[in-house]
């Protein structure tokens, strides 16, 4: 059922505009090896995320995950890549894989890899922290609708899995269970996996009862785009196009610190392109707005 479109697009940014912004930011972050551009994309994404983060949602788990992932990437490149002229430490050569010189250049390039990972994850973070799962489904174009449903369902399963794990481990502790070695975790993991399977079967039955797969997904209210949405999308697509276009034109956008370190080349136009990704953070959301959208009642398909 498609109802009459509301006069205003609402206080938030349209889900599809979020999706396009995320894709553009990921494109920029992964289209260059330059740490300056990657760092600017990460900073822009942090600003956008903090501006639009709904109340009650925390960024600490995301920050810890980013630190872990980026640190691991830097560490792996440091100990596995032995290129570079400036040697910090020399490990014995007979140590498999990690034996050999550990260089400043490997550490720097590992940091760039970690920074790219962090920037890409921060770029897609609004899809899970700002939007509701049904918003993500609505943001997908028609041919990718089923993919969107699968992604949204898996996002729900992750949080459900964590919740079940906490509940089961609390219940087992109340029965006197204590973690003693790896084998003792069977008593927690088996009920958690069984519960996850049961939840999946129940979810599949609910989706079938609601007509999943019978036709196109419908919604009660048709979303329209505001000028802000158009501005966000235009700036994001422009930034991504700028990076791709300049790369195709032969402008240096990468930084490769081997064999010796040097300052990364910086193009002011590309810096402004990164700044364009921060456009969603320029306007503050309405404090009275609902967390991310009108809620699941807006979608019934």
């Amino acid at each position: 059922v498609t109802g009459k479109p509301p006069p205003e697009a609402g206080p938030g940014i349209a889900p599809r505009a979020w999706l396009i912004w995320s894709l553009a930011a990921v494109t920029v972050a992964l289209s260059t090896d330059n740490p300056v551009y990657r760092g600017l994309v990460a900073l822009a994404a942090v600003n956008v995320l903090l501006t639009w983060l709904p109340r009650g949602r925390r960024v600490r788990p995301l920050a810890l995950a980013l630190l872990f992932a980026a640190g691991l990437a830097a560490l792996i490149n440091l100990i596995a890549g032995h290129s570079g002229a400036d040697v910090m430490v020399r490990l014995p050569g007979d140590w498999p894989l990690i034996g050999g010189p550990l260089t400043v250049e490997s550490l720097a390039y590992g940091g760039v890899l970690g920074l790219g990972l962090a920037a890409a994850l921060l770029a897609v973070a609004p899809l899970s922290l700002v939007l509701e799962p049904h918003d993500v489904v609505d943001a997908m174009p028609g041919p990718l609708e089923r993919t969107g449903i699968a992604v949204a369902t898996s996002m729900n399963l992750v949080s459900g899995f964590g919740r079940t794990f906490t509940e089961v481990s609390d219940a087992q502790r109340m029965r006197g269970w204590r973690p003693r070695g790896l084998r003792s975790w069977n008593e927690v993991l088996v009920p958690v996996v069984l519960t996850a399977i049961e939840d999946s079967v129940r979810l599949a039955e609910a989706m079938e009862a609601r007509g999943f797969g019978a036709g196109r997904r419908t919604s009660y209210a048709a979303a329209s785009w505001s000028r802000r949405d158009l501005l966000v999308v235009g700036a994001a697509v422009g930034a991504a196009g700028l990076f791709i276009g300049l790369r195709l034109a032969g402008v240096p956008v990468d930084w490769y610190p081997y064999p010796t370190l040097y300052l990364p080349p910086i193009n002011p136009v590309l810096v402004l392109g990164c700044l364009a990704l921060a456009v969603p953070s320029l306007s503050m959301p309405d404090p009275a707005r609902p967390p991310a959208s009108a809620g699941p009642d807006g979608a019934n398909g």
């Binding site: 300056v36 760092g39 600017l40 900073l43 822009a44 942090v46 600003n47 903090l50 501006t51 983060l53 109340r55 002229a85 240096p252 930084w255 490769y256 064999p259 010796t260 370190l261 040097y262 300052l263 990364p264 080349p265 910086i266 193009n267 002011p268 810096v271 402004l272 990164c274 700044l275 921060a278 953070s281």
Partner: protein, 69 residues
């Protein structure tokens, strides 16, 4: 014979494209951003933009913490 060794090294250097006599690391492939005492304008703009975005992020983080408490 030293002369033969030198010619072999020279041939090896020519076939691999390297300089047989140089033992130092080759120059960095990228352009040097600062020439002389001048400041690279790209670096300056990046520092200003990065500092602005970083400062704004810190302010937003402080505001979010204040709202949460």
């Amino acid at each position: 014979v030293p002369a033969d060794e030198a010619s072999l090294v020279a041939i090896a250097g020519a076939t691999t494209g390297g300089s047989p006599a140089s033992s130092t690391a080759p120059a960095a492939p990228g352009p040097s951003p600062s020439h002389g005492s001048g400041v690279d304008p790209g670096l300056l703009i990046a520092a200003v933009v990065g500092g602005g975005l970083g400062g704004l992020a810190l302010l937003r983080l402080a505001a979010a913490r204040r709202r949460a408490t």
